[in-house]
């Protein structure tokens, strides 16, 4: 049957997604930066009691920019197969291509937004980066964790479409439970013991350590997060491959 050139398909879908994202609104790509900036502004004024900390705004920028990247991969990745049902029902295409495109688009946007954030940190004399190796470890753990959930949910949503609703509602709750607004290290020991079971809490803390405090973060924990999510990704990929002939029937 048709031998699809998947690198060509992925790169073509990547550019077309970016193009559509830029043409969708009048301000186009400016929204990539405006959206996290609005979040930072709202949370900065909402949680006035934390403003006592001199670097609260920068802590927020670091957390929100990274959180939006991770949660964007998960929520858009979860619905990626459903959204491309037109292609799934007309071509013999492996559905794994769709969460991959979402991963690439969101990571590209994160690269752009993070550059602005780093420029802000440098301007505020707060940029204190960790080593490239530590950044590599953190980045690998972050990308594999978010992508493993994106692929897992992309398999499930054609069978349980309501899951999309659950994921989008859970995203806001998870933002508070991941230390995006309130750094978990400043909470009670009981709260810390509970919230540190959440891998995203370590990833958010890790990026702050790497960009603002020049620290490596907890390498062992990042490694555990990375290694424990590889099987989830592999199982999800296997499920997606095995169900690729069943998914188009479910989307009728």
């Amino acid at each position: 049957m048709n031998k699809i050139d998947y690198p060509a398909l992925t790169s073509y879908l990547f550019w077309s997604e970016l193009k559509s994202d830029m043409n969708k609104f009048m301000l186009g790509a400016l929204w990539w930066v405006l959206e996290p900036a609005l979040y930072v502004a709202v949370f900065y004024f909402l949680f006035a009691e934390l403003r006592g900390r001199a670097d609260f705004a920068l802590v927020l920028v670091c957390g929100i920019v990274t959180w939006q990247w991770l949660i964007g991969i998960i929520t858009s990745g979860a619905s990626s197969v459903l959204k491309k049902k037109n292609l799934v029902q007309n071509f013999r295409v492996h559905p794994f291509a769709f969460p991959v495109v979402i991963l690439l688009v969101n990571t590209f946007k994160y690269g752009v937004v993070l550059s602005f954030a780093i420029a802000l940190f440098i301007w505020k004399d707060a940029f204190n980066p960790g080593t490239a190796v530590d950044f590599g470890l953190w980045f690998s753990a972050a990308i594999i964790t978010a992508f493993s959930y994106a692929v897992l949910f992309s398999v499930a949503t054609p069978f349980f479409p309501d899951l999309q609703m659950v994921i989008s509602r859970a995203a806001m709750l998870m933002m508070f439970l991941s230390g995006v607004i309130f750094p978990i290290s400043q909470m009670s020991p009981e709260a810390q013991a509970l919230l540190y079971w959440n891998p995203f809490a370590h990833l958010i803390e890790g990026v702050r350590d790497l960009l603002l405090y020049g620290e490596a973060g907890d390498r062992q924990k990042l490694l555990i997060i990375l290694v424990s999510h590889i099987p989830i990704l592999l199982i999800s990929y296997t499920l997606l491959s095995r169900l690729r002939g069943e998914i188009p029937k479910r989307l009728v």
Partner: protein, 257 residues
């Protein structure tokens, strides 16, 4: 003996719905279908709505996986499936969709670039090719889908009633193109409600009813069988309606008295 490029053996296909694994609802779309497709075959699939025609085509295109039976493919064949949904991405332009659809049909980027001009000319889309697909009429989309499919030079062309869309001139042009493909040894499988079209285009035919093969063989014979079953059903229905009308009027009359 010619080796089949595609072969279905006792294939059944189910649509499952509901999420209770113990009591999931199952609808049989195809039951015990066997079919051989050889290079140069022109096979028509006839049947009423819900007969399983489109499901069979998607199975042959490899989009659906059979629930039982075997689907064997010989060698590395290129198939093109033209359905009424086309598989276009609405917010992308016609030209972007040519590239995307071409890649999904197994063409390389260079191959698509080489054939782009021919596809645009053949589909008669003109300057609209730069506009997003959502602004196209159903006929324009059908012409573009057909053009991309035939210029991908498939080994097997699967057409799902798409030829009934578009004007008479384009239908004639598309039938000529199909004849060209057949001359180059491609197999064509055409799904239709119209026995006349199947008889004109195809040499073999298959009549499906509720997922089962009712009849198969020479296209003229199968098309005639299908047509006469249709005609007799219409005759039975209209005579029942006439009887119904009479009894109603008698009942109405008696009520009035």
């Amino acid at each position: 003996m010619v080796q089949p490029i595609l072969e279905l053996e006792n294939v059944s296909l189910l649509y499952k719905s509901g999420f209770n694994f113990l009591r999931a609802r199952k609808k049989i779309a195809l039951e015990s279908i066997s079919l051989q497709v050889c290079p140069g075959d022109k096979i028509g699939i006839l049947g009423r709505n819900g007969a399983g025609k489109s499901s069979l085509l998607k199975l042959l295109a490899g989009i659906y996986k059979p629930d039982s039976g075997t689907l064997s493919v010989t060698g590395n064949i290129r198939s093109a499936f033209i359905g009424l949904q086309h598989g276009f991405v609405p917010y992308l332009s016609g030209i972007d969709n040519i590239m995307l659809t071409g890649i999904l049909m197994g063409m390389s980027r260079a191959e698509i670039h080489g054939k782009q001009r021919e596809i645009i000319e053949y589909s008669e889309i003109g300057h609209n090719i730069l506009e997003p697909i959502y602004s196209y009429s159903a006929g324009m989309k059908a012409r573009l889908a057909f053009a991309i499919s035939v210029f991908s030079e498939p080994d097997i062309l699967l057409i799902d009633e798409a030829m009934s869309v578009g004007d008479r001139a384009f239908r004639k042009k598309s039938q000529e193109k199909i004849s060209e493909l057949i001359a180059s040894d491609a197999a064509v499988i055409l799904v239709s409600h119209e026995p006349g079209l199947v008889n004109n285009v195809c040499s073999k035919a298959l009549w499906l009813e509720q997922g089962r093969i009712i009849s198969s063989g020479d296209s003229a014979a199968v098309a005639e069988q299908y047509k006469s079953s249709f005609d007799s059903r219409i005759r039975t229905r209209s005579s029942e309606e006439r009887k119904g009308d009479g009894s109603e009027s008698v009942a109405g009359l008696s009520e009035g008295i």
